[in-house]
């Protein structure tokens, strides 16, 4: 239920946005504006934290398991 509410609020939030044209996206295309632009760093961090903490996920498909947790 919380998830559905979250998605609903996000859709309401985003539906009010004007369309940004492709030629206006130079800033958005920069690596520092992208989520997990460094995939190798994101994978290493996820593996490290998943081995020490009881939770995982939120974004993306979870990777392979290991005997480290």
């Amino acid at each position: 239920m919380r998830v559905l509410l979250f998605i609903f609020l996000f859709l309401i939030f985003s539906s009010g946005c004007a369309i940004v044209q492709p030629y206006e996206r130079e800033t958005l295309s920069k690596p520092i504006m992208q989520f997990d632009s460094d995939k190798e760093e994101a994978a290493a961090r996820e593996h490290f934290l998943n081995s020490l903490e009881g939770s995982s996920g939120g974004f993306g498909v979870v990777g392979g398991g290991c005997g480290c947790n």
Partner: protein
């Protein structure tokens, strides 16, 4: 055999995709970061990574990542039989252990669709994991909105030192996310993941010390459902930088609930130097069967610190130096320098008496 039955259709699917026309894909690069983790209680991990991303056709990109974890622990097999508060490292064997991982994925664009099947294999002496996956993305509203869905299945085999025979673990992982361009300088994403696992959930490397000083094998539930929802937003800064915020709420049927807050600031301090500062706060409740001490009559027992209630902080700084310009003109080659040097330091502390210093050095070369 189960893994092969899943992998073969993926390979056939990938073969089909490679001959299908489409659009241009992402950048090509080679990336070679080396991570080093220095964790208290005598655990160190050296983690070299080699990653390559290369377009193989105009609309198909192949990515491969090789990772080695060289785990060295001073914890002996006897010492690894922990009390509830003692940290147990990646291996109960003591000495060293090596984990090797290979991840392969093929991204293919068909109009506004992107399809990316992948496969991950992780092998260590007491654990093996096969994880085929597929991710599908679709752009909407002139690419202002992207919907991404993914599925992965883990075929894991646990072979810990205290197990007489290897045990299986299977996990279905589902993910969905929506990325939305809000303005020409702001982008946001919401994500939801769900996984249901069944089988042997422990490592086979832990025992639990009871109140009477006897030792027992760890027993965990054989089912686990986990879900998480996350939100993150990136905002461009007029100082030639950006700030990213993220929040994640996690819950599972072992009654672990967690909150994760993260802020990251990126700032160019010169044309060629990018500095990133980061802070992450994490807190979680403990699993319902975790206790400070066990009598041995309990159905489930564990000494895993990751299942206890705690909070954690992570601070980090990263520098990227972009090396650009012509090479020595005395050489015959007509090349320019065009690569990034990276260095990172992070400090991670848990209220569970765990501390880690994390170092990373890397080079990224465009192809």
């Amino acid at each position: 055999m189960g893994a092969i039955k899943v992998i073969m259709p993926f390979l056939i699917f990938v073969g089909f995709l490679c001959f299908h026309p489409g659009a241009v894909l992402a950048e090509d690069y080679v990336h070679t970061p080396v991570h080093y983790y220095d964790i208290n209680h005598g655990l160190t991990i050296a983690k070299p990574v080699f990653s390559i991303s290369q377009d193989v056709t105009l609309d198909t990109n192949l990515s491969m990542r090789f990772t080695v974890d060289r785990v060295k622990t001073e914890v002996s097999g006897v010492d690894a039989i922990s009390g509830a508060t003692q940290y147990v490292g990646a291996s109960a064997q003591g000495s060293t252990d090596t984990r090797k991982e290979i991840a392969v994925s093929v991204a293919h664009v068909i109009g506004e669709w992107k399809i990316e099947p992948g496969y991950l294999l992780s092998v260590e002496h007491d654990y093996k994991s096969h994880a085929p996956s597929i991710t599908v993305s679709k752009d909407f509203f002139q690419r202002n909105t992207t919907l991404t869905m993914g599925y992965a299945h883990n075929f894991d085999e646990v072979m810990g030192v205290y197990l007489e025979v290897s045990e299986d673990k299977n996990i279905n992982n589902y993910a969905i996310s929506l990325t939305q361009v809000l303005t020409s300088e702001t982008i946001a994403q919401i994500g939801y993941t769900f996984s249901d696992g069944s089988g042997y959930m422990g490592t086979g490397n832990r025992k639990v010390r009871l109140e009477n000083d006897q030792e027992m094998h760890e027993f965990l539930p054989e089912e686990r459902g986990r879900e998480a929802v996350g939100f993150r937003i990136a905002q461009w800064l007029p100082t030639n930088g950006s700030v990213q915020f993220s929040y994640r709420y996690y819950t599972d049927d072992w009654q672990i609930d967690s909150n994760t807050y993260q802020v990251q600031i990126n700032q160019y301090v010169a044309d060629a130097i990018l500095v990133r500062g980061e802070y992450r706060y994490y807190d979680q409740s403990g699993a319902y069967f975790v206790k400070d001490s066990y009598t041995g009559a309990e159905k489930y027992l564990t000494s895993a610190t990751s299942l206890r209630a705690f909070n954690a902080d992570l601070y980090g700084i990263k520098l990227i130096y972009a090396v650009r310009g012509p090479m020595d003109r005395d050489w015959d080659w007509d090349w320019d320098w065009d690569w990034d040097l990276e260095a990172k330091y992070e400090r991670y502390t848990q209220s569970n008496d765990l501390e880690a210093n994390i170092f990373m050095l890397g080079i990224r070369l465009p192809l």
